[in-house]
């Protein structure tokens, strides 16, 4: 499992707009680089990132090779209720990773 780093506030007021920051370790090999053997290094990237809040999708991203290695994505969502914010990454060569964070809404 790839290492991930998630930053979600543990507590928020109801209706507050919170910032979510995510980072995952991944080479994001573009498929356009020539390796030491003189051949092209095959593409290996994360294609999709989805964030769900208590099961409902709040954010989705489609990534291209132009995203830097160890993709960092930061976005906002409204803190509606206490529960679980889940993250899922999918990519080439069957890459899949998931992470979740709990949030308490007062």
């Amino acid at each position: 499992m790839a290492r991930t780093l998630i930053n979600v506030p543990a507590k928020a007021k109801r209706g507050e707009v919170i910032e979510i920051k995510t980072l995952i370790s991944h080479p994001m090999e573009s498929g356009y680089r020539v390796g030491t053997s003189g051949t092209m290094i095959p593409r290996d990237i994360i294609r999709r990132f989805v964030c769900t809040y208590n099961g409902g999708e709040v954010f989705r991203a489609e990534l291209s090779p132009a995203i830097a290695a160890n993709p960092f994505i930061s976005f906002f969502t409204v803190a509606t209720e206490s529960g679980m914010i889940a993250f899922e990454w999918r990519g080439d060569n069957g890459f899949a990773a998931s992470e979740h964070a709990a949030i308490t809404v007062e």
């Binding site: 132009a66 994505i73 976005f75």
Partner: protein, 152 residues
């Protein structure tokens, strides 16, 4: 896969770009950028404004360029940003990132880090819930390129 000479010529004649595209070049062209944007827009028109791309004007290392996209929108059920797309001019592929948002986002702002293969123009497009498209451009000077450098 690199196109064969025949495929390349047939493709080029179709879009009238025989002389503009160097053979075997691992770089998108303004024409590819236009086409990628057209695929997103469909028949709609692009208007300037509402979206802002925040990116440093000069970067030393094109391997990780911070990019923040902010769209001016109340993000309500009736008026929100549906999607944001980012394209570039000179990386091997014109597409950078597409994100899908909704009223649940609260604020239409996304940040990430991108690779830039050359000094170039970046184009951001915001798709609103009313079907309108808004755009902004940013120019970045890159001193060390990414994407296509050799591993030695």
């Amino acid at each position: 896969m690199r196109p064969t000479r025949r495929e390349f010529l047939i493709g080029s004649v179709g879009i009238g770009l025989v002389s503009a595209v160097p053979m075997g070049s691992a770089s998108a062209t303004p024409a590819m950028l236009e086409e990628a944007i057209r695929n997103v827009l469909g028949e709609s028109n692009l208007q300037k404004g509402k979206i802002t791309l925040e990116v440093p004007p000069l970067v030393e290392n094109g391997n990780a360029v911070p990019l923040t996209i902010i769209v001016d929108s109340p993000m309500t059920e009736a008026d929100h940003v549906k999607a944001i797309h980012v394209f570039n001019e000179k990386n091997p592929q014109p597409h950078v990132i597409s994100v899908a948002l909704g009223p649940r986002a609260g604020k239409a702002s996304v940040a990430t880090r991108i690779k830039l293969a050359d000094t170039q123009r970046i184009v951001g497009i915001a798709e609103m819930s009313d079907g309108s498209f808004w755009t902004d451009e940013a120019n970045v000077i890159v001193t060390i390129a990414a994407c296509v450098e050799d591993v030695n």
